[in-house]
Structure formats: C-alpha cells, structure tokens
C-alpha cells in the first residue's frame, strides 16, 4: 500500500512569472551548478574520537538540564530497567509508552517494569489493547474521542522511551526517524523522555545525521514522514523572558548511553 496521490494547483503561471523576473524565457529545467554546498570546510573536517564524542554530547546535554546515564553493554538490560524504575518512582509514573524497536526489545525492559506496576504501551496497532482507559475528554469537536486507542493511550503516558537513530555531539541532539513502530507521539506527548542509544551512534554534527537519513532512504518517496531533532527539554521564554521548562513537550529528558 502506498500514500494517496498528491496534487498541484497553479504551478505553471507562477513558475513562468518567477522565470521572467529572473530574466529567463522559460523556467530553468536543468539543475544549476553548485560551486559550494553545505557547511564551511573547517567545520566539516572536524573529527572526534568516540570518547570525545561522548564527552561533548554529555557536556551540552547537561547544560540544557538533561540527565545522563552511561552503562556498559553487558549490564545494559538490568541497569536500564533499574534506572527506568527509579525515574518512574521518583515522579510517580505508572504508565509509559515506548517505540516498537528491535534494540529496545532486546533489552527486555517490559518485564521488570510491569513487575514494578508500570504499564507499558508499545507503539504498535494493538499496543494499547490491554489497557483500560478512562473516557477521553470530549472537547467541543469530539475529535479526540474518535482517535485510535493507541494515540489516546499515548496521551495518558507520562514517560516516553525511544531509541534514536543517532545522536549529535556538538549540539547534544537526538535524531529520531519516525515511521511505523517509531511513533512521533512517544517523544512528544509525555512529560519525560528517555532516549537509549549506543555510544557508537554519536556523530559530531547535524550534517552526519542528515547523511544517515538520506542513506537510509535513498528514494525520496520512501523517506520517513518525520525526522525529529530533539535538543533538550521543551522550553519557552515568552512570559517576561523567564525560562519555563516543559511547556508543550517533555520537560525532563534523559540520555542512556550504552558503551
């Protein structure tokens, strides 16, 4: 199955006008030559070791009020489960959503969490079937009440667990290619976000995350419909310049790095 067809209205005259303003008789059909592309060379050429990447990521992440846990590969499943339970206990969280992702499944986190009384909503069609949800609030439009149970459930989860496709050290950014089991809502609707990833997934700069994205989806029409770059907690300075954390998206962000 593929997406329904798109459409185009009013293109020809619009393009003709632009072309003539630019002094061309017809719109340019051939890709123009590019003497330069992307970032300046001095920035592109910067290379960091794995340890430097981890350090730089953590430095930036901490400056944005993000918390970090580093675990060794061998202890990862137990250590991460314990950390999640601790975070949930601290905030009184009893329901979390998580990406339906092979790497996360391999950590078998659901068992220990459920044992600790925490409900887990994996991002798949039947992910919320086991839950009893309170009646969703019916607003004036009644739209929300008609949405999928999964989406409604995600909105009641207070912690979201994701496995980013990569992380960017020099801005402390998580890059999330959202599609299928890697839902957008998991990193958006909760108050707390926990991202688990391997140290070797950290790259130096944003451009490398974009390169990975383009490599993963060489065909434009297959591209994940949403690539989200998340750099710290949701924030606003709109009220008298007072920094407010957690205005719409998660206000608490955790990075768990597996070494």
């Amino acid at each position: 199955m593929s997406r329904s067809a798109g459409s185009m209205t009013g293109k020809e005259a619009f393009m003709q006008n632009i072309a003539s303003r630019l002094g061309r008789r017809e719109p340019l059909q051939k890709a123009p030559e590019r003497p330069f592309i992307g970032v300046p060379d001095f920035y592109r050429d910067r290379e960091l070791s794995t340890n430097e990447l981890i350090e730089e990521f953590i430095r930036n992440w901490t400056a944005l009020s993000g918390r970090t846990l580093i675990v060794e590969e061998a202890e990862a499943p137990q250590a991460i489960a314990a950390y999640l339970k601790e975070v949930c206990a601290e905030l009184g969280i009893t329901r979390i959503s998580r990406w339906e992702h092979d790497r996360l499944r391999e950590l078998s986190l659901d068992g220990p969490l459920i044992e600790a009384g925490i409900e887990v909503v994996p991002w798949r069609e039947d992910g919320a079937d086991h839950l009893r949800l309170a009646e969703p609030p019916t607003g004036s439009e009644g739209n929300w009440a008609k949405r999928s149970k999964l989406l409604q459930a995600a909105e009641t989860c207070r912690l979201g667990l994701v496995w980013p496709d990569c992380a960017v050290a020099n801005t402390s950014t998580l890059a999330l290619f959202s599609e299928g089991g890697k839902g957008r809502s998991v990193s958006l609707l909760t108050d707390t976000l926990v991202a688990v990833f391997r140290a070797d997934q950290i790259v130096t700069r944003m451009g490398e995350a974009f390169a990975l994205f383009k490599e993963r989806y060489p065909n434009v029409q297959q591209m994940a419909s949403s690539l989200n770059l998340i750099t710290g907690p949701s924030r606003s300075a709109d009220i008298e310049n007072d920094l407010t954390i957690g205005i719409h998206g998660p206000g608490k962000v955790h990075a768990v790095i597996i070494r």
């Binding site: 185009m8 632009i18 959202s178 390169a211 434009v220 419909s225 770059l229 709109d238 009220i239 205005i247």
Partner: protein, 495 residues
Amino acid sequence: MSVQAGHGQDTNMDERIGSGLKQRTKQALQDEFLRKAVAFTTDKLKNGRLQAMDAFGDWEAWRDRGRAIREHTNSHLDYYLSQFADNVAGNGGHVYFCSGADDAVKTFMGIADRHKAKLVAKGKSMVSEEIHLNHHLEDRGIEAIETDLGEYILQLARETPSHLIIPAIHKNKQQIADLFTDASGQHFEPETKVLAEYARKKLRNYFLEADIGLTGCNFGVAESGSITLVSNEGNGRMVSTLPKVHVVVMGMERLVPTFEDLEVVLNLLARSATGQKLTTYTSILTGARHPEDLDGPEELHVIILDNGRSAQLGDPIFQEVLNCIRCAACLNVCPVYRHVGGHTYGSVYSGPIGAVLTPLLQQDMKEAGTLSYASSLCGACYEACPVKIPLHDMLVHLRHRKVKMKLTSLPERAAFKTFQTVFGSVTLYKLATKSGYYLQKPLVRGGMIKAGPAPLSGWTQSRFMPMMPKQSFRDKWAALQAELAAKKAAREEQR
C-alpha cells in the same frame, strides 16, 4: 498600558503605516514598561547571539556561506521551487501556488470547508499574519487558536506580535495573569510557572481536538520536498502531529536546495535568534503519514505564497531581502527598534527587516515607504545579519525611491530644491552663510540655538545647535592658509 491604544487590532492597521508612525512612536516612547522590557529582552538575545557566535568559530565564514546558499537558491528559484513542489506532490502532498493574500486565504478556506473544520490549531506563522488569516477565519465562524505561548497571550489580548521571536515581548506578568483570569474565570497570580502550566493544559486540549493544524515553514528542502519547522516549546510538533490535516503556509522564497544546506541555515538561525546551539525541536516533515505510520496527519497541504515577493526577484538592489531567514537579530541590535518596539512600525514585520520588507511586499511607497525613515542608518542590522543583507543600504535606496516618486512632503521638496539651488551657486552660497549669521541672532543664547520654530524645533527639542559663526570657514581660509605657511617656514628655518 498605552501600547494597546490605536494599534491593538490589526484590521486596517496597514493603511496608516506611514501617517500614523509619528503618533505611534510618541506613544511607545512614553511607555516606560515597554521600553524597559524591549531593551532587556533584546539585550539578552543579542548577548546570547554574540556568545554563540564566539563559540562557533569563524562566524564570518558561516555568514558568507549562509548568504551564498540563500543567494544561489533565490537566483535559481524557478528550478528549486519547482523541484520542491514536485517532491511534495510526489509524497502525497497537495500544493497550491497563490499569487496574493486573497488567493491564499481562499485556498485555505477551501480546505477548511472540505473538512467542515471548526477548530484550527496554529503554530507560529508570520505568513498567516501577513495574510490576516485569523480575521478571515473568525468571519467564517472558524475558531483559530494560536499555540505558541507568546502568540496565545497576544490572541487573548487581541494584539499582534511585536517581535519575530518573542511575540509578546511587550507584555508583563501581571498583564498576562489578568488575561488568563479573564479568559478562564479563575484567578491567576503573576507567576510564570503557574501561568505556563495553565497554558500547557489549556492548549493541549486544542491540539487534541483541532480539525486542522496550521503551521508556517522555516525552510523547505527542495531535494526532498520536506517542510522544516523549528520551535522551542514543541507546539509546532503538536500541530503537525495530532490533527488529521496539516496545512502549511509559506513564502515562496523559504527554500534551501539540499539537506547539506539545511545544516547551515539551521545553525545560523538558532544562534542568531536566541543564542542557542540549536532550537529544541527541529521537525523535518516529508509528505503526509505513510500507511504503516500510527500517528501523524493523514493529509498535507502546502500553500506557497508570492504576495509581492516575486517583484523583488531580479532587482539588483532588493532581491537580497528575500535571503532573510527571519531570525530577528536585526531587531535586537537596532537602536530604533529597541526604543519603540515592534508595534510602532504598524506592520506585521517590524525592525530593520520590516522597514525594508513591508514597503516592498506591499508595493506601497507612500505609506509603508515611510518606514525607511525609522532608522539611523547605523548599519548595526547588517553587522548582525547572518546572511549579510545590506539593510541599511536598502533603507537609503527606499528613501531615494520615495523622493524619485515625489512622495515626500511639499515643504520638504521645496526645502531640498532650495538647498540644491543655493549649494550649486557660489554667490548664493556666500549670501546664505552671511545672511544666516544675522537671521539666527534672535534665537541664539550663549553661542547655542536652544529653541526655535518648526522645522528647527524638531532638532532643538532634543539637542542644542551651535550657532553659525560670523566668519565662515571659506572666508577664513585665506588667513588660515597664510598662518600655516608661516608656521611651516618657521619650522624649516629652525632645522
């Protein structure tokens, strides 16, 4: 607060851009809170930018690259815009090209009608302000909710943004608490945390219930047809994720060719706007959701707006204004903006960029063209601009255009005509300097002119003017020359 008076509502605001400028300036200058708040915030943003620049290494190389990318894109806009639109449509999106504001509004209404929309949740979009979409929606009985916290506050106050990045820069906590109290019926203390928490809950409900999510577009990526949205709060993500229909309204020039170029402009934007290394959320949206996706909008509509932009293409002086990435760095450093705030400009876009963009987009030199005088031409805007738009030069060119079109006032034209005649003739010039000395006499006190009739009072209200000396420099020159020659001779004799 006096800020609200006269320009609180943007209906018909545009028609008085020029003739109301003096009055609005006066009002703003009398508003103590406004001036303090604007100075405080712009300082903070400006200092943040300076720090971020330092930490980034060779800022000039970045500016040059940013400028080069934007310049290349706009000079080949027919190619890149076409590529962008084809990719959006190829990814299942619906693209509409609109030459004017009416056209864009009509297109949006068509989409709203098809979905029987009653509630639209809006992300921050200057273009939707530009086409006054909210008014049209209101007229149709469609509720449009601004979800950026600052914009939401302004919507409750029925005001327009006064800064590109911090729209409610001119509102204090007490005013915001009062607005929330009025809107909700419950009492609010002026505490940021409490106010923000209320807004979070209130707006969450709108995100969930909206029929349509409406956003602008910070950058479109031509090679993939992707829409890039940046926000710190996350409202941009909310409105482009939760409602079933996502509508984008964007200026036709808001493009970069590739993801590689996107990296440059995103870095420039965040650092220049707020001094952040990167905005909290950068969403790159490519088409509507795939069949296997379990969230995201089912439909994507992209409205691409000209509205006076194409008239700048190919213009040797003004095309560069289309390179703007809307970071507001020029507002934060502008000595005029910092004193009078955004509303004084009387248009959607304020500050130096607004003073240039508004008359160009509206193709109105008579009223909007007056904004070119709301500048000291100090060039701070150019220094701060991450894509090096020579705004101060453009302001001079706009003034020139206004003069050429004989749109300046009659006395002003007469004055300059006289100036031209007098300064063009040796005899008249001599006569003028001589007679000036005697004519000024009734006004001089202690060697200074401290008060005078109009138009001289425009100067003397805020500063003194030294009197014209009895002997002009020109008359003194012969004596001065002789004196110099004598000194020189004396020095040589000593050797």
